[in-house]
Subunit: 382 residues, 2 copies
Amino acid sequence: MEPTPSTLFSGERIRVGYRLAGDEALAWQKAEVICLEQTIEAPYELIPEGELGQNIIGHIESFEPLDTGDFMAVISYAEEVTGFEIPQLLNTICGNSSLKPGIRVEAVEFPDHYLENFRGPRYGRQGLREMLGVADRPLLCTPLKPMGLSCRELADLAYQFALGGIDIIKDDHGLVDQPFSRFAERVELCTKAVRRANKETGKSCVYAPNVTGPAGVVMERARLAKRIGAGGLLVAPGLTGFDTMRRLADDDDIGLPIICHPAFLGGFVTSPESGISHSILFGKLVRLAGADATIFPNYGGRFSFSREACGGIASETARPMGRIKPIFPAPGGGMSLARIPEMREFYGNEVLFLIGGDLQNRGRDIVENCHLFHRLVSGAQK
Amino acid sequence: MEPTPSTLFSGERIRVGYRLAGDEALAWQKAEVICLEQTIEAPYELIPEGELGQNIIGHIESFEPLDTGDFMAVISYAEEVTGFEIPQLLNTICGNSSLKPGIRVEAVEFPDHYLENFRGPRYGRQGLREMLGVADRPLLCTPLKPMGLSCRELADLAYQFALGGIDIIKDDHGLVDQPFSRFAERVELCTKAVRRANKETGKSCVYAPNVTGPAGVVMERARLAKRIGAGGLLVAPGLTGFDTMRRLADDDDIGLPIICHPAFLGGFVTSPESGISHSILFGKLVRLAGADATIFPNYGGRFSFSREACGGIASETARPMGRIKPIFPAPGGGMSLARIPEMREFYGNEVLFLIGGDLQNRGRDIVENCHLFHRLVSGAQK
């Protein structure tokens, strides 16, 4: 006997808010097309008959004008359409519609029941705080850079950063396994350097190597990093696919916190009319896919994210989301120590500050710069 | 002894053409920033000393005004920076720069020597023609849809398409492993259906199931498809990561042709000022990453790719590229049979026509519609 719609569909639906450009008639037409494009990808005439077809296609739940002159359509999809898999979930949200201008994903809401299919971040804010032994101040993070330094030189930097009290030291995301910086050697030397510094300071600084790499190799690099004793992992889901990050986070043998890097995801956010909103992409989707901290370019730096976009990401990292843990927003991108007091005020305590070149590029020595970073973050005057 | 730059760097460099918005001073400044952003990701002061640093950073090879008022900067990168890995290659081309508006990748040139690190498509145009037994006409492709049909119904469709002379029948890219369409059952039934039709027609129609899926599962699905006897694979690298497609193509045990679907890649091309050009993304990069055919929305359909963009993709699929084989452009996206004569004229013979709903959505029966598709493609009048 073929299964019937009532046995196939739970009735739970995922809701996606699309901002649609155009006048009311055009925007409504876009909404109707999205209902098909994101599901059966075929004309109305081909909707499967009866209850099944009605379950499968998208439903326009609401349609409202916005102050901007655009329209907001909330469209729902049966949870079964997503196959309970991250790639097909992303495909359902905006796979084909990403190819059409004037459609921007501004909201995604999951039933709590649906979220039980995903573990999300292993640590989240609280787990990361416990691991690092940091009760309530913002976390301090810095990358190992520049590319071109030998593994020994990077390890020496890592040692100084850890001595100076940085909480998380991550590889620059361009460091993979190049002739001038072999993955295994780098992880070996940097892990040792951070361990040595931790013995001296009594702190719990974590080194997070970049495991972004070829499809068959990411998990191997992560396992190697774990074996060597690294305390976290950096991954760029735009380069590896979102689900590779989820797989890293879910792997109980690896079990390390995941720092998410935004490289090669910019396409979704650079157009204000198309793609996915900053908060959904860098706040919600990476959180669902297992990131414990989400790096994004801070406002006013060398990128062009607005203050509002950054605030939206930060809010989204902690919005209630079933049993999926809140994660750290990690603003970076050419931030200087001088910006810390203002960022502190803007982001509050639940933030991971990512300061790069400025820690290496000042008069004082690196340990001293890290101490200054600490004092600024703790709110004490310089 | 530490290796020296002359032992570390071959001197071969990848060249990337960036279209930069802004006046000359701003565009030049952007070009200078890209040289650092895409490599050391740090200020000038941190460029490693001497020859090493000069090898590592991007070089502005040329800088010219364009008729559009923008500027074109060609920037080269040492091949070693890419680690000879697809993810880091994409990261080098525009990882962080994808996050900045007003920077668009318009050209990428690889030294032939560099291309030897990649196998590219296993079949390419000639291999696919040999496999399908089609000497020189365009190839005919159609998706199994709509989502919601049972595997038995999809298999019945596949049988009729194959009887009608379709060359490649692919899963709709939204079909993964849902409760209403289980992967294993679908592949089993559709493979059998196509085989049965092939016996009747004496033709070599190929069924290509969609293996887009979770990170640890894509290869399993592909191996299962191969074991069952499927003749090709569909994959959406925007959802799985580009390198997963490369891995599928490189796997000698799987060894099937790869059809590339553009879902979730739209962010890169919807803004005319940012991201990556259509021809580089859908023509060149997917070809490097192993696609034998590249699906993209045809001009004048329900998407908004221009005629020029589509022509650019088609040209790029066959541009000389070391030993990397030319591949098939596969325009689709709501195309009707009525468009075939014009598309035939535009694309010539080296094309894979993807017609979806229109083969199911007409008066005659499906086999008859496929015959009409055939006649239109072969240039005969209806």
